[in-house]
């Protein structure tokens, strides 16, 4: 043992524990505005200011018109409303900040004022709000009343069968939009076709996009496979913009091009992009983002994908980073833009930070809470893992239920998901065959339907997909061909669903701000405006919607608990019989330990929460008592089901003054006559982890107390399991069965046990 007698350490080992947590994989950056690492303020941020000369903006945020870069020029010409600007810029920022969180100031009024505010003014105002105030203001200011959500649907093989199955699955879970992209650029057409088919299974109206190179994306849209686009990126400094290979005019032209094809479009911007691209001009993340957002309103796009996006991870390395992401989202909705509010690129390895990141948006609601919830597994996400992914989708469903918050998703039964996946794979296979693109085998199809991710599929590989994709492109196959193929092969419902979606284009209704399709209707900021003016207004979950949200799987009911017990009853009846002898009297044997069993013990309840049959448990307890040199007597209590009182009542009847109280769920106590009810000798409160050997030793210890000794108390080791979350629902249902059988003043009954079968 030499060398182990002393511990030499120069470190508290808790730090080693912390080193092992996923959090430590996250790297954090020091605040350093000179190098672009500042979330809300930098000394290089301009002071808000706006002056006009001869009808045009003369000086904006400290820069004179001759020195305007392209972004300034565009904002000054198209964003700033000279009618409103003098009034808007004239209100002190703290006052506007208070208006944002004042439920009595309508959204409409604040949206009007924003049209006259410069980027520096907007940034200065939201910077005055705490995280809580930002979230509240966001909830009040977002454009459309009903919240929604967007899914990423991609896979590591670009396999069209899996693409269709996963798109259909995402639609079933309620996503309003589905976004795909591919591992291999050439596969864009195949991915788009497969997702379009998959998204038409089950219901219609899920908008769909395929993120690819700009010209290609527009072509795919024109062929009718996609209905929206969101990868039109803008940046907050001129040099970043140019490195991004665009200008405000080229992007605005593209925006008009999308409109001309009847395709819904939003821009993308987010904190950190300028920092990542090396042209941050030493400005704060928020100020640069305010420029991006004013620019987007100026361009006339209906919305923005905003909130860090690809820059979210770097933004989250900076102090206040997550608050900044919310603040920029607030500016977006204040500028009356639809907001697909980020919560996509996974900014952390810490599940706690993930949960914290999503919560404000879940409770505030958002046009699209995630601008890419990874509905597939992390490794299948061709955009990179999202904040939330296929692995965590159920956690999100439960959060919705916990907070009675509409996160846009709906739990779906297992059998339904399987049926939908099967249907989607059959539909896409039919289309591929009908159009002469491929001949999927039964084995391929079956592997995809069941697969959680592409690691488990035996289907197409990227090279196979490239051939399919290029064929679609070369043969100029359009959505009309796909609809016909579906119809010819008997998928009339899917054909109809897909046609309905494409037909939306004619009216252009879904080009308006925050448009989505719900239950066959276009809902946007126009016909579903956020009208929040305090409690009882704005979005409220309807009874029907609440019923959907709370219906997660595997929810315990009393019937289920009783059903399980009735199964155990049959087994127990072959092992033990309890014969009631009559009222129990106090014993005279000083070596006697009384076991006080609960009212439903062996009558309605037959095994402990840990799964031990009650007959076995009693056998162990009695064996322990006997081995400890005492004798056991069993008494059923009918006046109480409480462990302490069971034990104390048993002790009162025992000749030794020592009793054991035990409930059917397995909770037990060693008690002694004349002690206070909750001041017992030993308590075994964690029945789920109490093993049979513990019950045997409990018997032995009770015997030792009966002999007047002081044994080593038995400690049931626990490793920090959240017992309450695992067992309390069931335990409460079980315990209610016990308490139902109690009646005040009922006397304890002597019980004779007969152990049946093998070792009786």
């Amino acid at each position: 043992m030499a060398g182990e007698s002393l511990i030499f350490a120069n470190r508290w080992k808790r730090f080693s524990d912390w080193d092992e947590r996923p959090l430590r994989l996250d790297k954090f950056a020091v605040e350093d505005a000179e190098n672009g690492f500042a979330s809300f303020t930098s000394r290089h941020d301009p002071k808000p200011g706006l002056t006009f000369g001869s009808g045009a903006v003369d000086v904006m945020d400290g820069v004179g018109a001759p020195d305007f870069d392209m972004i300034d020029t565009f904002i000054a010409r198209y964003h700033i409303d000279p009618e409103i600007a003098p009034e808007a810029m004239g209100i002190p920022s703290p006052e506007v900040a208070r208006m944002l969180v004042d439920m009595n100031v309508p959204r409409r009024e604040l949206v009007r004022l924003a049209r006259g505010m410069t980027p520096a003014k907007l940034a200065e105002i939201v910077a005055q709000l705490s995280s809580l105030e930002i979230v509240f203001a966001y909830s009040k200011m977002r454009a459309r009343k009903t919240p929604g959500n967007q899914a990423h649907v991609t896979n590591a093989k670009d396999d069209p069968l899996q693409m269709a199955a996963d798109a259909a699955t995402a639609v079933a879970f309620g996503f309003d939009e589905v976004e795909t992209t591919m591992r291999v650029a050439r596969n864009a057409w195949s991915n788009a076709l497969a997702c379009a088919v998959g998204a038409s299974v089950g219901r219609w109206g899920t908008l769909f996009q395929c993120s690819s190179e700009e010209a290609e994306e527009l072509r795919i849209g024109m062929a009718g496979f996609t209905s929206y686009a969101e990868t039109v990126s803008v940046y907050g400094t001129e040099k970043s913009f140019i490195d991004g290979d665009d200008t405000p005019w080229s992007k605005a032209f593209l925006a008009a091009a999308y409109a001309s094809r009847g395709i819904k479009m939003r821009c993308t911007s987010g904190a950190g992009s300028e920092l990542l691209m090396g042209f941050h001009e030493k400005k704060s993340l928020l100020y640069l983002e305010a420029r991006c957002l004013c620019l987007q309103r100026a361009m006339g796009v209906q919305g923005t994908q905003n909130g860090g996006i690809d820059g979210a991870p770097i933004t989250c390395t900076v102090p206040g980073g997550m608050r900044e992401l919310m603040a920029e989202n607030l500016i977006a909705v204040w500028l009356d833009l639809e907001c697909a509010s980020g919560n996509d690129a996974r900014p952390t390895e810490s599940e706690i930070r993930v949960g914290a990141k999503i919560m404000p948006f879940l409770i505030a609601g958002s046009d699209l809470i995630c601008s890419g919830f990874g509905s597939i597994l992390k490794y299948d996400n061709s955009f990179n893992p999202s904040l939330l992914n296929g692995e965590e989708l159920e956690d999100y469903l439960v959060l919705q239920r916990d907070f009675e918050a509409d996160g846009g998703l709906t739990p779906v039964e297992e059998t339904r998901v399987f049926a939908i996946r099967t249907r989607a794979v059959e539909a896409i296979s039919a289309v591929l065959e009908e159009l002469g693109l491929a001949q999927p085998t039964e084995d391929m199809k079956a592997s995809v339907v069941a697969a959680s991710g592409s690691d488990e599929t035996r289907s197409y590989l990227p090279r196979d997909v490239a051939l399919i994709s290029e064929s679609i492109k070369e043969r100029a196959i359009t959505v009309v061909d796909v609809i016909k193929a579906l119809a010819r092969r008997g998928f009339a419902e899917e054909a109809e669903n897909l046609l309905r979606l494409v037909r939306l284009r004619i009216s252009g209704d879904y080009l308006q701000t925050s448009a989505m399709v719900r239950d066959g209707r276009v809902l946007s900021a126009i016909n579903d405006p956020n009208d929040y003016l305090g409690p009882g207004t704005g979005y409220r979950i309807s009874k029907a919607r609440r019923d959907e949200i709370v219906a997660i799987r595997d929810v315990l009911t009393r019937e289920e608990v009783l059903r399980a017990e009735s199964v155990h009853k049959a087994a127990e009846s072959k092992r033990i019989s309890y014969r009631t002898i009559g009222p129990a009297a106090a014993g005279g044997d000083t070596r006697e330990v009384v076991i006080g069993i609960s009212p439903a013990f062996g009558i309605k309840l037959f095994q402990t929460v840990a799964g031990h049959p009650l007959s076995t448990l009693l056998r162990e307890l009695i064996a322990g008592i006997t081995e400890g040199g005492a004798s056991a007597r069993v008494v059923r209590m009918k006046h109480t089901a409480d462990t302490s009182f069971l034990g104390l009542s048993a002790a009162g009847l025992a000749g030794s003054g020592v009793g054991i109280g035990i409930q059917a769920k397995g909770t037990a106590v060693i008690h002694q006559k004349d002690r206070l009810p909750h001041h017992n000798l030993e308590l075994f409160s964690n029945s789920p982890i109490t093993r049979l050997e513990h019950y045997r030793r409990m018997g032995a210890n009770a015997a030792a107390y009966a002999r007047g000794e002081l044994p080593e108390p038995i400690v049931v080791p626990m490793r920090g399991e959240a017992m309450g979350s695992r067992y309390h629902a069931r335990v409460s249902l079980i315990y209610a069965i016990e308490t139902e059988l109690t009646s005040e003043g009922a006397v304890p009954e002597e019980v004779a046990l007969v152990f049946l079968g093998d070792a009786a």
Binding site: I242, W249, A255, V301, D336, V480, L499, G508
Partner: protein, 142 residues
Amino acid sequence: MSGERLTIADYPLAEKRPEIVRGKRGKGVDEITLQALVDNHVALEDLRITATALRQQAEIARAAGRATLAANFERGAELVDVPQDTIMRIYELLRPGRAQSQEELLAAARKLRDEHGAKGLAAFVEEAAAVYERRGLFKKRF
């Protein structure tokens, strides 16, 4: 289009004003059915948005207080009949360093105005040409 101004009460058009919603070849929503498509009476062309529809949506956007969005729809309306390749060529030309002189952009603007009647967009491209000149964008980048 008739003289009436659409308002937010007319939205969504497909629901509230189906009689004015028409595809590229004049077909209404109720004519664009699965059966018609299967029978080859409906083609992709019928599923394209029209300049009229975009101008109608612009009116609605303006009525909803969204003037910049309306302006984008109006620019879009001017592009409805412009061929895809032309659109992509002009877009490409608007990207940094693609045009080597202001004149190239001005020529594109003339084409938009003269061949496609896209007056608003032509002015927009001319404006870009002036800004690019001032910001020194007419230089080779790769």
